[in-house]
Symmetry: C2
Subunit: 166 residues, 2 copies
């Protein structure tokens, strides 16, 4: 098989095996605060309590990668979900494989967000670190902190190449 | 006493009795992801597990209020923290009183953020709903969902007036 990894548009349906798309678009808002506020509630399943864990909030600033980009290493967090909410408003790449044993190249998918969307990886979903395009980008990150080793890495036997973002 | 509520600039020190200022400015970043990412870690204490709770993520869109604004009702969430991270990059007002019995006017403080800062109310901190200025503003909100009643409201015996934001 080719070692080229095609990129597809991120949708809720396509991303379901890996996690959730964090996006209020298309969701129904509730009106609260005496009419002052629209609330899009419960946008992601924050799964952080395994093994005595708790939720942590971080800010990441990612340097952009250049295309073509070679995917060599995937990682996973076996004890909790991890969510990324872009503050930069630009599309970014999401490279994932389902939770479970170390992924072969056929299990790996690449998605391009629409600039609004964030992602929340299920506990154990294999993923590449944040692949920001064009210029540095900031993200809010919501994940688990607590006891236990919450990081595994897997070096691909055959690297995959992302040639273009779309 | 006057029923005017003065507004002060939000600082970590001044906000300590009420919660945390969510801001990476002045914090030390860690370099991760093979040098691609700066991480400002653990920006807030997300306190959501009391009474079988879990962390929830929402998006709020707040209509602006006009000054002078009359503070009439405060609320609190007795079972968990609540964090607001502005996505609009503009200063907003934060009106709070310490956790504990229903606040008298002397216990209430008003702060103005600097546009970058978010806030994380401690469990039980009395606060006004989000007071956005000038134009509608979006926020990410991180709080608790789960069993139990997590909202109390208190109508002030003597309303307070915020005349100007600074």
């Amino acid at each position: 098989m080719s070692n080229r990894l095609p990129v597809q548009a991120l949708t809720r349906e396509a991303f379901e095996p890996f996690g959730e798309v964090i996006d209020s678009a298309g969701q129904v808002a509730e009106t609260i605060n005496a009419g002052h506020t629209q609330k899009w509630g419960d946008l992601a399943t924050i799964d952080t309590q395994a093994g005595g864990g708790r939720t942590a909030l971080h800010r990441y600033r990612s340097e952009p990668v250049r295309l073509p980009f070679t995917v060599e290493v995937m990682e996973r967090h076996p004890l909790g979900s991890q969510g990324f909410i872009p503050l930069h408003g630009r599309p970014f790449l999401v490279v994932v494989a389902p939770a479970g044993s170390e992924p072969g190249p056929e299990a790996i998918r690449a998605f391009l967000t629409d600039g609004r969307q964030g992602v929340n990886y299920h506990r154990g979903t294999w993923h590449h670190y944040q692949l920001t395009l064009d210029q540095p980008g900031d993200y809010l990150v919501i994940d688990r902190t607590g006891p236990g080793l919450n990081l595994d890495e897997h070096r691909l036997a055959q690297p995959l190449i992302i040639e273009r973002a779309e």
